[in-house]
Amino acid sequence: MMARDPDDRNPASKPRETEETDTTMATAQLEDELITTEVETGSTERAGRPDETVVATTGLTVHYGDDQALWDVDIEIPVHKVTAIIGPSGCGKSTFLRSINRMNDQIDGCRIGGELHFHGKNVYDEDVDPVALRRKIGMVFQKPNPFPKSIYDNVAYGLRVQGKDDEVDLDAAVEDALRGAALWDEVKDKLDESGLELSGGQQQRLCIARTIATDPEVLLMDEPTSALDPVAASKIEDLIDELVEEYTVVIVTHNMQQAARISDKTAVFLNGGELVEFDRTATIFENPADDRVEDYITGKFG
């Protein structure tokens, strides 16, 4: 297990000398230092393990009607690691995530080109059933979308539709998933209340619980902590850290510190749908090859 000093994830608790020099210089330095520190905590033995690809794309393109949203993306996502997707708003992060589990199929006018391999199989081949694919690749959406059902039924839904509800102890599975999503204590006394009556952040965790309940191999998370307070967010980060021992996590985030903290590899999308750089997180944050990536990360861009 990744037993890390819990203080490490909280930059505020780090003593930091504030030099009284040129203010802009100081800010830049501060930011640099902050990220560097975090990357060091992130680069644990997990990051050192050799990469074994589970999802790979070659020349992946996505069009919405006449607009191209992704341009020739080549990426190899390693198994049992956390891959972060970062980039400015509208650069195609969600689009990329949705093309992994073929959720783009649901969008009218969305066309996909190139190949996307899952365990070596192109998922866009004719003989791949997207339903089967989605049972192995779960997804948490950017906007919480609980079902208009009870909290319990929300979490049990996946197990029920996948016919796993009589193999497992449903009550226990629901409890585990809710605990994993750091929601159990808040809802354990009202499991039959509607999931829609929860707060936005609670709904987001409910959707996480719903997704992890079915034990998918790959977990796609689209800004899963965007609506959460720091405590809940750090619980989700702990969960990701734990999950990645058995699963593969791909996470979209706008929070640089979060990406640096929790991911092993980072992909940077820029310029309306171009994968500009993909490398070990430490490299991306300390020594990116592309100037635009450096500019983006240090906040000079986007």
């Binding site: 959720m103 649901q106 009218d108 959406f141 208009p148 996946g158 509607s194 079915t214």
Partner: protein
């Protein structure tokens, strides 16, 4: 000087006439909306007096009225056969129209490709909802009463009413399905559900209050329909129907028959019948409102 300027600041702006126009317009639209209410009140008052006169001057006992069947003899005549026939009609109509209606709505909203054929079907359904009810009666007369040769039985009436309400049920069910956000469907697909599992598991449960409301309102319209029942021959019958293949007369046709009688006693029987029919209508509308209100916070 300053006070004077302040006083005259808006002196050149004369809004008196504009405000008067505003008030006038408000009164006109208020009167227009009150017109309907006033007419309804007058109608209810008229029925109310007839109802009262019927109970007092003609000594019609409400219990006898509700427990006796129709009769040629005015003092023995009651409404039971018509009430039972109307209830049976409602149940048969609901069964006939609900599944076909909701099924078509699911097909059109969830499955049908967005092409010319689909749009043509939808446009025709909208037109169908505006077809005069007597036409459906004519259809049932030709196809069922004479075509299949059932004769003027309750089932033929139910088929006419079922066709009448089906387009209304389809359109209102489509609206209810459309109100379910796509994000909920996507959540289901992403959990590894098939299309049918998604529809069964999340879309229909979310849409069912809207579908029920639409269905009840459609049935409330059907229960008062007279023309299609007259078309299939639901008149001159006084007794309770023994089943769907028995001859019948529903509440509106019974009222119609009584109202056509010369004797004032029969006219007042009709007035009491109208009160009973209106009670059914109000209860059904109330039920629809309750369902809508009860579930409107969902989603």
């Amino acid at each position: 000087m300053s006070t004077e300027t302040e006083h005259d600041l808006f002196g050149d702006v004369d809004l008196k006439w504009e405000h008067a126009k505003n008030r006038l317009f408000l009164w006109v639209i208020f009167a227009a909306s009150m017109f309907g209410v006033a007419m309804l009140a007058l109608l209810l008052l008229d029925i109310g007096t007839d109802f009262y006169v019927g109970l007092t001057e003609f000594n019609i006992s409400l219990t006898d009225f509700l427990t006796r069947d129709g009769s040629r003899r005015e003092e023995l005549s009651g409404f039971r056969g018509a009430i039972v026939a109307s209830i049976m009609l409602m149940i048969l109509t609901a069964v006939l129209a609900f599944f076909v209606g909701v099924g078509s709505a699911i097909y059109l909203e969830e499955y049908a490709p967005d092409n010319r054929v689909t749009r043509l079907i939808e446009a025709n359904l909208a037109n169908l909802a505006g077809v005069p009810s007597i036409v459906y009666g004519l259809l049932a007369l030709a196809a069922v009463v004479n075509g299949i040769g059932t004769g003027p039985v309750l089932m033929a009436g139910a088929i006419a009413l079922g066709l009448l309400v089906m387009s209304i049920i389809i359109v209102s069910s489509q609206e209810a399905l459309r109100a379910v956000p796509d994000s909920v469907r996507n959540g289901s697909y992403a959990t590894g559900a098939t299309k049918w599992q998604t529809i069964r598991g999340v879309v229909l449960p979310a849409a069912i209050p809207g579908i029920m409301t639409g269905t009840i309102l459609a049935l409330a319209r059907a229960i008062g329909e007279t023309a299609p029942l007259l078309m299939v021959g639901a008149i001159f019958v006084n007794r309770m129907p023994s089943g769907p293949f028995d001859r019948f007369s529903g509440m509106p046709t019974q009222i119609y028959a009584w109202a056509a009688e010369p004797s004032p006693h029969f006219i007042h029987l009709a007035a009491i019948g109208i009160v009973v029919l209106l009670t059914f209508l109000f209860v059904m509308n109330g039920l629809a409102m309750y369902i809508r209100h009860r579930y409107e916070t969902e989603i």
